[in-house]
């Protein structure tokens, strides 16, 4: 037998490495996930549902849904617009623009929150003006939305830019020369081409928008029932040693994560979508 490659030549190593990978993923990823559900249900099913239905928890769930409902569509529109500009046209400074779009990935969530405090906070640049006009941003919902938009800024764009770059411009140019309008071309030609990439980006953007903690924590002010998102509510409950309730709310977020992974895997397996990004 001619030696093919390392993998097929050393079948014994195969089992060792598979076992090693499974053990590592098991301990470092699966165990924490399982712990969330075990701890959440440790007080019985009634306590579990009581923790999810009490007013503060309900208002946290509502706020999280509201924040995602604003920030995800905003980032979808921006992502499509940015990817169109970058993939369909050549202009100087394009790679710099892509670098800047990626910037929020490299900024600590805490710093992301801080910059909005410096801009809109009481001591911030626009603080006095905002106070005069009775506009609340920091320690209020608009600040939470802004911080979330900042954190999730690159998600959709980052997914669409390489995809649309790869697909080139021929399809659109053909449609346009056959007399389609720009908007028709986008709806009938581009959108079907990018739908799985778009869905993929939306899934990850949404997961991050609902789960963001650091940035939101800085701008929220932690007002119970008012500016508490689900992750912040988890923190408050945990710090009050109300562990069962903290894990109950956390289990909802864990379910969201599992749902995200399932949908993402379906997009990858069933529709053969192969995304090219290692950053989230």
């Amino acid at each position: 037998m001619t030696p093919k490659n390392l993998s097929s030549r050393f079948p014994a190593a195969q089992y060792g490495l598979i076992a090693l990978a499974l053990a590592f993923i098991g301990v470092s990823l699966v165990l924490p996930l399982a712990a969330v559900f075990v701890e959440a249900l440790s007080g019985g099913i009634e306590t579990y549902f009581a923790a999810l239905t009490e007013p503060d928890a309900r208002s946290a769930i509502r706020l999280t849904l509201l924040v995602a409902a604003i920030s995800v569509p905003v980032n979808v529109i921006f992502g499509i617009v940015a990817a169109w500009s970058i993939s369909k046209f050549d202009f100087p400074g394009k790679s710099l623009l892509v670098t800047f779009i990626d910037l929020p990935f490299s900024v600590s969530p805490v710093v992301a929150g801080l910059v909005y405090v410096l801009l809109f906070g009481a001591q911030g640049l626009l603080g006095p003006w905002l106070r005069e006009h009775d506009i609340e941003i920091i320690f209020a919902v608009p600040g939470i939305v802004l911080a979330t938009i900042f954190i999730t800024f690159p998600f959709v764009a980052r997914e669409l830019i390489p995809l649309m770059n790869e697909q080139g411009r021929d399809d659109e140019e053909a449609a346009l020369s056959l007399g389609a309008s720009g908007f028709q071309t986008f709806l009938r030609v581009t959108l079907p081409n990018i739908r799985w990439g778009l869905l993929y980006g939306v899934l990850l953007c949404n997961a991050r928008a609902m789960g963001e903690f650091g940035a939101v924590s800085v701008v929220s002010g932690h007002l119970r029932g008012l500016t508490n998102t689900m992750p912040l509510h988890v923190e408050i409950l945990y710090n009050e040693y109300n562990f069962v309730a903290a894990f109950a709310v956390a289990s909802l977020l864990a379910l969201l994560a599992l749902l995200t992974l399932v949908l993402k895997s379906i997009v990858e397996w069933r529709f053969g979508y192969h995304h090219g990004s290692a950053r989230h």
Partner: protein, 293 residues
């Protein structure tokens, strides 16, 4: 920056760019989409971020150094950078093993494993934080076995490292995976036929090929670890000088209304992450040059 572009893209640079410039694009919307992109980016990202530098510039050098490099702050940088480095090293090893297993072997549960690798991208950091704390606390699932042998995981830098291992793993796996997939088997075959030992094949053939991707993943995981907050604060214990991370110190200063100190620390961290970003770009450029040349 092309960190995230698929490697296929990197190997086929845009053809006939010159041609296209001469033949003006008939695709509409250049002004609209580019204008909106630049405008929104400026409003949401660039202007807010520039506030950090505006504030620090208005601070004066001594004040900046006092706030950004006090003893306690130095200790926090050491904790943040040290634990991130340790976690990225652990992930480099196990992430590589995981990527290798995913690409090279077929076994029941491979798809499940593949999906699970992305869990840290999908699971909110605060959830990961409290779950890891529960596991590694002295009476937790794992902690109860560590405690008798004198290993304190929760509320120590070791706990921080464990949280950062959780957060950083997918960066390594997803960076290395596509390169392993595209690596031609012929190189390995040739080396083996010529009598190379398996270890030699790994260190001389495979490792050099995947090194740029591995380094990129390492840098991404490291950068993410330095800025990480949610998964760390629960397990860290947050003792000043011992287990206090830099992002937490920013929040502590903010809560005491010491905006100057918070801004100074944030400036140092921003500069550090820009340096890492630059490093990643250099690695990418180096790898592209190597592939093409």
């Amino acid at each position: 920056m092309e960190i995230a572009l698929s490697s296929t893209l990197q190997m086929h640079p845009e053809p006939a760019t010159a041609n296209r410039r001469i033949r003006k694009s008939i695709i509409p919307g250049f002004g609209l989409t580019t204008g909106l992109t630049v405008g929104w980016l400026t409003l949401i990202v660039l202007v807010p971020l520039s506030m950090i530098f505006v504030r620090s510039a208005g601070m004066g050098w001594t004040e900046f150094v006092e706030a950004g490099f006090s003893d306690r702050t130095w200790a926090a940088y050491r904790v943040s950078f040290g634990t991130s480095l340790a976690a990225a090293l652990v992930n480099a090893v196990f992430g590589l093993v995981t990527a290798w297993v995913l690409v090279r072997y077929d076994f029941p549960g491979r798809r499940l494993l593949n999906a699970l690798v992305d869990l840290p991208f999908a699971l909110p950091t605060a959830v990961a934080g409290i779950a890891l704390t529960a596991i590694y606390a002295p009476n937790g699932w794992v902690g109860q076995y560590l405690d008798p042998v004198g290993i304190k995981a929760a509320y120590t830098p070791l706990g921080i490292t464990i949280a950062l291992i959780f957060i950083g793993l997918p960066f390594i796996v997803r960076s290395v995976e596509p390169v392993l997939e595209e690596m031609s088997a012929e190189l390995e075959e040739a080396a083996l036929s010529l009598g190379a030992r398996p270890w030699q094949v790994f260190t001389r053939v495979i490792l050099p090929t995947i090194m740029p991707a591995l380094l990129t993943g390492f840098a991404l995981a490291f950068a993410r670890g330095v800025g990480e907050y949610g998964s760390v604060i629960f397990i860290a214990g947050n003792m000043p000088f011992k287990s206090e991370i830099a992002p937490l110190l920013i929040i502590t200063q903010l809560e005491q209304y010491d905006y100057a100190a918070a801004t100074a620390i944030a400036t140092v961290m921003l500069v550090a992450s820009f340096a890492i970003l630059l490093l990643i770009n250099l690695i990418q450029a180096w790898s592209r040059r190597r592939m093409n040349g």
